[in-house]
């Protein structure tokens, strides 16, 4: 297992390197001169020698690849420079906001998983018409944009029922509505995955045998189907987590949840390149770790793969 883990991380190194290259290249190839922008931000009318001095200070006078390696060595120590807009260290800004976004995405994922399992199992065990109705309902839920769902939830829960408040202070109670918004849509699309997977298993001969043996639906579902779909579901959960990290931006901006979404939207409007770059790298890393965890779950849940891995 340890050998497998080592190999898995080793083969991921090119991907990680490629990711860092993408994050760097987007900035390096972006239109607009960061030096001029910084000077303008400082309110200075630049002289040509000032420009050259600043370019030398940031290493911008060097060719593309040496600059990339400079940036990479600094990025490996999580040094992304300073924000152009606020002048503060980018890594500090990211670390302040990252926990709130992770808390939102994780609680939304937990909600989505519970919701999707309930939906999927209900759609499978219900009769034809109810099952079709449930599937229609999930398609509808998937189609509702999260920003509109958020506004509708605010309308009902904040203004009509008064169960929640609009302006929060980032406490746990304020997490409920944003997490609910995200988990309804994500849960519906995961529910479809659950349904599809269970349905695919039910076309297999071993299920036919189990039915013929007279096993009860619950036993078939938990003993014969669940172990086979845990792996694919873990992959789907990891992908959903990635989607939630992105979707968090939308919901955070509506509910005023103090996560990375606020930071990145501000950075986009101010063209604060170091912040956007660090955001891209961090979200990539979090998503990468999630996919790795999912891969390991796939291995652990499949006896054949498990044996192969422990022998090889």
């Amino acid at each position: 297992m340890r050998h497998y883990l080592f190999m898995r991380v080793a083969t991921a190194l090119p991907t990680l390197l490629g990711m860092s290259f993408v994050a760097f290249a987007i900035v390096a190839l972006a239109p607009g001169d960061p030096v001029m922008q910084e000077l303008r931000a400082m309110g200075v009318v630049p002289k040509p020698e000032d420009i050259l001095a600043i370019k030398a200070q940031y290493g911008l006078d060097k060719p593309f690849f040496p600059r990339y390696f400079d940036w990479l060595t600094r990025a490996l120590t999580f040094d992304f420079g300073n924000s152009i807009a606020s002048g503060r260290s980018v890594i500090d800004e990211i670390l302040i906001h990252l926990p709130a976004t992770l808390a939102l995405a994780l609680s939304a994922l937990a909600g989505a998983i519970v919701f999707s399992l309930a939906l999927g199992v209900a759609a499978i065990s219900a009769g034809r018409s109810v099952g079709a109705g449930l599937r229609g309902f999930t398609i509808l839920l998937v189609s509702i944009p999260s920003f509109w769902l958020a506004l509708l939830l605010i309308y009902f829960f904040v203004f009509q029922l008064g169960w929640a408040r609009m302006v929060g202070d980032g406490s746990l109670g304020d997490l409920i509505l944003p997490a609910l918004t995200l988990s309804l849509g994500a849960g519906a699309s995961l529910g479809r995955v659950v349904f599809e997977r269970v349905r695919a298993e039910m076309c297999e001969d071993h299920i036919r045998l189990a039915i013929a043996k007279g096993l009860s639906p619950a036993v078939i579902l938990f003993r014969h189907i669940t172990p086979r779909i845990i792996g694919p579901l873990a992959t789907a959960w990891a992908n959903t987590f990635g989607a939630l990290l992105g979707g968090a931006v939308i919901v955070e901006s509506i509910f005023g949840w103090p996560g990375l979404g606020q930071l990145i939207l501000q950075a986009i409007s101010q063209r604060d390149f170091p912040v956007i770059q660090a955001y891209l790298v961090f979200m990539g890393l979090v998503f990468f770790a999630t996919s790795l965890a999912a891969d390991i779950t796939v291995i652990l849940s499949d006896p054949q793969l498990r044996r192969e891995v422990s022998n090889g």
Partner: protein, 289 residues
């Protein structure tokens, strides 16, 4: 009985009894036709221009003059969502075209060549897929500056690798069919094999993917416009209209309902068509307990 089976092989669509998926497909197609009609409404009926303001009728609800009411500047909402059909759906279709323009050749070349070319191409796609899709789109918009064009490019750049993977998987299955091998052995050129034997096989499942992906692209683009980093303010675009409506939440709920319903129904239409097509292509029968 034999006769029926033979016939049904020729026309797989007609064999199926009325099922939920087919109802959904018809419903989705009707809704798409409805949106096309809404988009053309401006040419048939006299609607006020989407930017003309009627300041005396600000924030008014539905009335005979303004069938869906007006917004905070007194602009007619029906005219605006009708005009937004061109922009919102046009942007989604443009993004989808860009995604296909990259992913289709990418997936076909990778799937057919195999070996080292395949693994390098898939590795490159994996690198892009290692970022959450919306996050990558946000970053690209950040570096290009907020505009509808930037959001289309950002979404296309973030969405194509997963499509390329799906196309490759379809091609891998399609190229193993006996008649493809036969065509190869007969000396058919690569182009001919792709156009005559591979593309027709992957088109039906590809239609499902395209329809579902258009729905997700439409969602992403309208979300970006809602965040103020896609289509910009005076442009009638569903997401941007919702963003403008936010301060008038309580006074004029219709300002929220109209564009929100428009996005939801458009996304729903594409999802229904995609799911309906998938249902028709799906020939498995699960064992019932």
């Amino acid at each position: 009985m034999d006769d029926i089976v033979k016939k049904s092989h020729r026309l797989p669509v007609l064999r199926l009894p009325i099922r939920a998926g087919r109802v959904g497909l018809v419903l989705g197609l009707c809704m798409l036709a409805g949106f096309a009609a809404l988009g053309l409404a401006g040419y048939v009926f006299t609607l006020p221009p989407p930017d003309s303001m009627d300041l005396l009728a600000r924030l008014s609800g539905p009335s005979a003059d303004h069938l869906l009411g007006t917004d905070h500047l007194g602009r007619d909402l029906l005219a605006r969502i009708s005009f937004a059909v061109h922009i919102s759906l046009g942007a989604a279709l443009a993004a989808m075209a860009a995604i296909l323009a990259i992913s289709l050749p990418w997936g076909i070349v990778a799937g057919l060549s195999g070996g080292r070319v395949d693994s390098v191409m898939m590795r490159l796609a994996d690198i892009i897929m290692a970022f959450p899709m919306l996050v990558l789109a946000l970053a690209i918009i950040g570096f290009m500056g907020a505009s509808l064009q930037a959001s289309i490019l950002g979404v296309a750049a973030a969405w194509w690798p997963s499509n390329a993977r799906l196309v490759r998987a379809l091609v891998l299955a399609a190229k193993e069919r006996d008649f493809v091998h036969a065509a190869r052995l007969c000396g058919a050129s690569r182009v001919r094999v792709v156009l005559r034997h591979i593309l027709p096989q992957i088109l039906p499942p590809l239609a499902v993917i395209i329809s579902l992906e258009t729905a997700s692209v439409l969602l992403a683009l309208s979300s970006l416009s809602f965040l103020g980093i896609g289509a910009q303010a005076p442009t009638p675009e569903w997401g941007a209209m919702l963003n403008e409506a936010r301060p008038f939440f309580m006074q004029a709920p219709h300002m929220l309902l109209v564009p929100g319903l428009a996005v939801t129904l458009a996304v729903l239409a594409f999802n229904l068509v995609g799911e309906g097509l998938r249902d028709i292509l799906d020939h498995r029968e699960p064992y019932q307990w």
